[in-house]
Amino acid sequence: MLIPHPLLGPRDAQEFTYLGDASLLNRPDGMAEGALAAFCDYVYLRDNPAGVHRELWFHEQGDRSWLVVTRNTVTHEILGAELARDVALRRQK
């Protein structure tokens, strides 16, 4: 597969390490009320869609960027990729 790195252009998937569902960006607040239940969901519950999936890839053999890649799990078509940092910062706003 080729991953369209937002800074470096198309890169071979072999350069990356795969983590999984981009919902891992949504880490609950550990100091909040009900944190334990929220963390159980965060750690263990994942959607497993046949179709469009947002997922985390780490450019380990490259610039060490974490990317959020939008991929169709059925066709492997890549619909987009952006820096996870940008996604996370947007989320915080």
Binding site: L19, D29, A35, C40, R64, W66, H76, R85, L89
Partner: protein
């Protein structure tokens, strides 16, 4: 001899080869198959199940029958298709799958037992009695199954892998592929032209056609010469593109040295080709028509017969017949007659069939049976119910042509049935993105159509990329379209083979139908149709048509099985691509490796690293003697160990402390500048992840260490935390594991030794206490960092210098510390000392353990939101009562075995009474017996109790006393001295 005139072989040179030990000759340009046919050899092997005599059936990679073992000894290669094995001088080939000589196979008895081996026999027989399975049935099936045998020796050849990129990949160098490559290459685009054959031209080499004024091979040579002169085109001969993968990536195997007596460089290369656009111009494969006893040597595809005659000037027999359902079979007959061969009959089911030349035509007739024990002698022709026997040593069967659309369906693209072509064609959409199909593979099968379509398809593919290509002037070529009639099999009561390689007959398909194995995927698995090396290239469509007939459905309703990579068999060796032995993975050497090697150190693989395991001295008979000496010398004087492999991460930024507070379970922001703190990281699920030290060199500058094994994953996790969880923090990370050489200097004389290398640095306990750190210089100005930390339990330091100075620093310390007893030690002594001190390492941090189990429950701070903190509060985690303890045998002579499970004395040794396990064990020279660490239920409360360690693998139980895990200096006085 059955060599004709002409052909694309070099008669000026003679190549000698053997088949089953008998010598023959051939010429450069021959395949093993063509040379065997030219030598009059028809019988080349035995069939898979029934051990029926079999001959050469095809002229290319689709061959189902003629599988031989090539070469001998370690280079012996089983199941090689004789039709693609390029002849070389000295080639040795042997037939397969027979007991006794090839012409008298003892297992041919299977043919008489054929009712027993019907479809699904694997599933139906050998069921009972149950006890017979392991002792009788399985060994029997294993012995009889498979075709060739492996050499069981190591492969002596080298393999390689490589990466290629192009604008246009053209797969297949026949008429369409050559026209496409020419069009694309002239436009300046980067082009790769790959063909599985050793000679470009595809079917053009197998026909007696003219293109413009030139005979076809001359036109091919002209195009090849132009292509070779263009720097933007690369020709890959002997290269099979075997799979279409994601995003325009194709796998290809180039057989670099398979055609040489001994491979000169590498045997094969695995290419990973990234192509912006791809043109599949793989041509077509002919199919046959099943009829009774249609598997005798001498019966072959009519197109293959034509190829042997034109390209290789090899005739399989003096008298030849043709059975055809279409005009193309008549073309073969006419070509053979033109070559001066005797065609004894052309059998065509069409009553209105017309002869294309001077040969006896049986219109409205079929072949209904054959004779000839080890090779065809007669064919039975039936017309209007009246059979006649006609003499023929070879029979060409022409049942129509199937497009080679395999790669177009590698992304589950479903082929589409065309009534006009009586074949499946690639679908317009649903194939691999960027791939289009050209020429005969797309149903554009005449030479003229293939040339034009190839050029146009290349032009269109490049236009997609914004590259303008103009169409070349193409020569005038044959455009005869030919008529065909759907005849899928000749009904009869004898066995008629559909899939030769797997011995699947029309009857087997009928049986599958009766047994309701009707969907094509079921049919395939129940009958083994279309499996093994040829993947049913000559059988699948015919089998579907037979099933369609039985079910009363149309062929498109019946559907087709999915083609998957590889297109043709790929050796495991080339998939390894040379990553074997020392090249299996990168090997990392520590900075002190040259020095350690010069000392005669024994090295051990630790992940990718090679670390000094111990340093034997003359007179030491066992590794234990060496390790005991290294431990005792360190505890008595001073020892030095390279600990560079521990991961190091440099953490800088205004928010570095706050960032580390979220990574470590224990607080780090509160750490004072110039101090070090032990740190424990958890996984988000609350389990212990990794440990190490965290040193604060400045207000905004920390250096953290990880275990050797987790250096990569921990760094990845830290980047995840920085970029994905807390991107608002001002913090930067970089791994400096390879930048700094780090040496542990441990033992009561450690301070005295370091005083001899530091540049005026005050090492006194007051100025530089336990857990202090500082930047400094050593050895007269060398930049260094010093950490007062201890893994051994002794007064100890770790000294880091830029990596390139590590080797010299090691030599210097041992040299200047000789009178202090300075002793290098390896990973074994390091391990012994950490067990003696009760420090956790990889064995204890195995992903199943918690901070509480490690005795560090109180380190997990509830005042901050660090990774994993919340999940440690789960009920099950809190209820965990196993905890790290030390273990010592009651009888000092007894061993302690890591992995042994722990039980109360007298308790049953089963899962329900299991109380923990031993994680680490060693012989402790300090204690004078074996010792161990382990997790034990309610361990802290059980100090002094005697328990039992069970080692059921060896049937042994050992009585152990529960002790503190700190065997050495439990108060920690030595560290702080």
């Amino acid at each position: 001899m059955t060599r004709l005139s002409g052909g694309l072989i070099d008669r000026s040179k003679t190549l000698r080869f053997t088949f089953n030990g008998k010598g023959y000759t051939g010429h450069p340009g021959d395949t093993l198959a063509s040379a065997l046919l030219a030598n009059g050899v028809r019988l080349v092997g035995r069939s898979f199940k029934y051990h029926r005599p079999r001959g050469i059936f095809a002229a290319g990679s689709e061959e189902p029958n003629a599988l031989v073992t090539l070469r001998s000894g370690a280079r012996a290669e089983p199941n090689t298709r004789a039709t693609v094995a390029e002849l070389f001088d000295g080639l040795q080939a042997t037939s397969q799958n027979h007991v006794g000589p090839l012409n008298f196979d003892l297992l041919a008895v299977n043919d008489l037992l054929s009712p027993f081996f019907a479809a699904g026999f694997y599933y139906k027989t050998f069921m009972w009695p149950k006890v017979f399975w392991e002792k009788l049935y399985e060994p029997m099936i294993r012995r009889a199954a498979g075709l060739g045998a492996m050499s069981m020796q190591a492969d002596p050849d080298a393999y390689d892998k490589g990466f290629l990129h192009c604008d246009l990949l053209v797969i297949g160098a026949g008429a369409a592929g050559l026209a496409a490559a020419l069009t694309a290459a002239r436009s300046g685009a980067r082009v790769i032209l790959a063909d599985e054959d050793f000679r470009l031209g595809g079917r053009l080499l197998a026909e007696g056609e003219t293109l413009g004024d030139a005979i076809a091979p001359d036109w091919v040579a002209g195009v090849e010469a132009e292509l070779a002169s263009l720097p933007n085109l690369r020709i890959l001969r002997r290269t099979t593109v075997f799979g279409a993968f994601d995003h325009g990536i194709y796998g290809a195997v180039e057989r670099v040295g398979d055609h040489l007596p001994t491979p000169q460089t590498v045997r094969q290369t695995l290419w990973r080709i990234t192509a912006k656009r791809t043109l599949l111009a793989a041509g077509t494969t002919e199919r046959h028509i099943p009829f009774a006893n249609n598997d005798r040597p001498g019966i072959m595809l009519a197109g293959a017969l034509r190829a042997y005659v034109h390209r290789w000037a090899a005739s399989p027999a003096d008298k030849v017949a043709i059975f055809t359902s279409n005009d193309d079979g008549h073309r073969t007959a006419a070509d053979l007659v033109a070559k001066g061969m005797q065609v004894t009959a052309v059998i065509d089911p069409r009553r209105d069939a017309k002869a294309l030349g001077q040969y006896p035509l049986y219109a409205g007739a079929v072949v209904s049976d054959t004779r000839g024990r080890l090779g065809l002698s007669h064919v039975q022709i039936t017309r209007d119910g009246a059979p006649v026997w006609v003499e023929a040593g070879a029979l060409g069967v022409a049942g129509g042509w199937n497009p080679n659309l395999h790669l177009a369906s590698h992304h589950r693209g479903r082929p589409v049935w065309s009534d006009a072509h009586l074949a499946f064609l690639p679908a317009a959409a649903g194939g691999p993105p960027g791939l289009s199909v050209a020429g005969a593979a797309a149903g554009q099968g005449t030479t003229q159509a293939a040339l034009t379509h190839g050029a146009q398809a290349a032009q269109a593919a490049l236009a997609d990329l914004g590259i303008a290509a103009s169409l070349p002037d193409l020569p005038a070529a044959s455009d005869a379209k030919g008529n065909q009639h759907p005849l899928w099999h000749v009904p009869g009561k004898h066995r008629a083979w559909v899939d030769f390689q797997n011995d699947v007959t029309v009857k087997d398909i009928k049986l599958a139908h009766q047994e309701n194995m009707r969907p094509v995927e079921h049919l395939k698995r129940w009958t083994t149709l279309g499996m093994a090396t040829d993947q049913g290239k000559t059988a699948n469509v015919t089998a579907l048509a037979v099933m369609a007939e039985l079910t009363g459905q149309s062929i498109p309703q019946t559907g087709a099985t999915i083609f998957r990579p590889p297109y043709t068999p790929v050796s495991l060796a080339v998939l390894g691509g040379g990553d074997t032995g020392p090249n299996f993975r990168p090997r990392r050497l520590t900075p002190t490796h040259p020095w350690a090697a010069a000392q005669g150190a024994v090295f051990v693989e630790v992940g990718q690293w090679m670390r000094a395991q111990y340093f034997p001295r003359p007179g030491e008979a066992t590794w234990r003697e060496t390790v005991d000496r290294e431990v005792l010398a360190t505890r008595a004087g001073v020892g030095i160990c390279d600990v560079t492999t521990l991961g190091k991460v440099d953490v800088q930024g205004r928010d570095a402390g706050s960032f580390l507070d979220r990574l470590y379970a224990n607080p780090m922001a509160s750490l004072k500048v110039g101090m070090v703190r032990y740190g424990l990281m958890l996984r988000e699920d609350g389990h212990a992840y990794d440990d190490g030290t965290c040193a604060r060199l400045a207000e905004d500058h920390y250096v953290v260490t990880t275990t050797t094994a987790q250096a990569g994953p921990v760094y990845r996790q830290m980047e995840f935390a920085r970029q994905c969880l807390w991107p608002d923090l001002d913090v930067q990370l970089i791994s400096t594991t390879d930048a700094w050489a780090q040496l542990s200097v441990a033992g009561p004389n450690a301070r005295k030794l370091l005083e001899r290398v530091v540049d005026g640095f005050d090492l006194s306990n007051e100025a530089f206490p336990f857990m202090a750190c500082a930047p400094l210089t050593v050895c007269g100005g060398l930049r260094a960092r010093l950490f007062r930390i201890s893994f051994s339990g002794e007064l100890a330091y770790e000294l880091a210098v830029p990596a390139r100075y590590g080797n010299a620093l090691m030599a210097r310390l041992v040299q200047v510390g000789a009178d202090l007893g300075a002793t290098p030690y390896g990973t074994e002594a390091l391990g012994v000392m950490r067990i003696e001190k009760g420090h956790a390492a990889g064995n204890e941090l195995n992903g199943q353990t918690t901070a509480q189990m490690l005795g560090m429950g109180k380190m997990v701070s509830a005042k901050k939101d660090a990774i994993g903190t919340v999940m440690t509060r789960r009920e099950g985690m809190l209820a965990e009562s196993r905890i790290l303890v030390g273990l010592q045998p009651v009888d000092p002579a007894d061993p302690v075995t890591a992995g042994a499970h722990l039980f109360a004395e007298g308790a049953a040794q089963d899962t329900w009474s299991d109380q923990g396990w031993i994680t680490s064990a060693c012989f402790s020279p300090h204690v004078g017996s074996a010792i161990g660490l382990g997790f034990l239920t309610d361990g802290v409360a059980r100090l002094g109790e005697v328990i039992v360690a069970a080692n059921p693998l060896e049937g042994k139980s050992t009585r152990l006393r529960v002790v503190s895990p700190h065997f050495v200096d439990p108060d920690g006085g030595r560290l702080r001295d």
